[in-house]
Amino acid sequence: MSSLTLPPQTPATARNRRLLEVLGAVAIAGTYIYLVLNQPADITGGPGSASALIALSGFLVGAVLLIIGVLPTLPVSTLVLIPVALVLNIVLGQFVGSTLVPFYLDAIGTVLIAVLAGPAAGAATGALSSIIWSFFNPTVLPFAAGAALIGCLAGLAARYGLFRRFYLAPVAGFLTGIVGGVVSAPVAAFVFGGTSGLATGAIVSAFRSMGDSLLAAITKQALISDPMDKAIVFTLVAVLVYALPRRTRLQFPFVRQYRVLAGTASNHPGNQPTGHSTGQDA
């Protein structure tokens, strides 16, 4: 029974896509482990580009495999939200950056999609965000894997109910930030030889002056900045999601199925049965 509007999903194509997702994750994890194990040989010997190339190609290949694996499986209603998320990443990031606090806050859209549409959509959005943003700013391209990881973790946090209690969202963000910072640090160290911002650069300088290796200093800086940054982003996303009208929130099957937000299904069991999907996806 083939649908007119959706590509046919045979078990073989589903298996291939799962394989691509796993390969992407393996590429990212393998690159990170290789970089961390091999770092002392390279960093002081000048801008040794072997590590930079490995970081770039490994993380990029992983991110692209994730996109190829996930993008065709997303329903159109989620797909049309991805550009919105990318624009939010860029515009709100700049806007908040100029009015609120000196953080980067460039993942609001990614986390929002992850909360509304799940870990796979979040990972694809994070990777796509870096790739498309690199049309204006090529320096974000190497961070595609880190952004994908943050989207995936945010989706998992939403799935296991961390957005149901408002005070748990910053905690989830903090933990996500730790993982994201640790994974992004080798990119900053090997590709950029430092950080791109002056404020974060000052923190790295402080650790360097105590005699840390570059990767250690950047990892420590990331462990200071990223958890705070992601805790703020998760809180802002929780503010935004709870400010959305019920009708808009419940449009998303992921939100209904896993009861991501407090009071979405349980308070009104008669109104919105969980399995009753009349959305635009079917």
């Binding site: 959706l6 801008p47 190339l53 993008l71 159109v76 209603s77 806007f95 320096t139 791109s196 360097r208």
Partner: protein
Amino acid sequence: MRLHPLTSLAAAGSTAVITTAAASWPVSLTVIAAAVGLSFAQGAARRMLPAAAVILVPLVLSLLALHGLFFPEGTTVLAQWGPARVTAQGLQFALERAAQLSAAVLVLLLGSFTVSVPDLVAVLSTRGVNARFAFVLASTLTLLPAISSRLERIRQAQEARGLVIRPGIPGRVAAFRWQAVPLLLSLVEEAGTRAAALQARGFGSAGPITSYRQVLDSPVQRWARVVLLLAALAAIVFRLWQPTAGA
């Protein structure tokens, strides 16, 4: 003659890879000069150079401050104030890395600023999975300017209603909520409408896609793309084979 979009992107990408792999002063500086020269020749310099400056100035300053002042591995000390030591090795590391990064950023920006987005989308959407990527790309690039102006209108409207940004974090979070919620609501609403419209027109179907936009391609360019990609791969393999050469 206008280059095929994939050719210019392949050229930019493989030049960036080869420059990173080469990791040598003269190559980086040549690429920087060539990218700036080509941007003037293509008439993109006026848009591209400010964009590049916004990215590169903080990056280069940060690198210089970081490695120029603190480079514990450096041995030749040029000056010292307290814990900060200016070392020759640190400065050299910072300058080399800055040149290499500037070359890669300039070349990639040249590629993205000279490529014609409608052509790129037309090319991508004729090829399977890429139809979805092409949609995300085109729709982000066209949404961006529209949304900046909408955010401005929302801010004006909320200020007309009496929004005052109070000092302190709670005040600012409240101000953020006042502006971000209407923006997000309108965007999500529009996305829903767009999804219905797109699905009604067969977006996401697996059938053949007809494009009304003809993008010229030639066998020479097809070969050039293959050669460029192979050259980038060769540069990576060569660098991994000899990790320390030239560094």
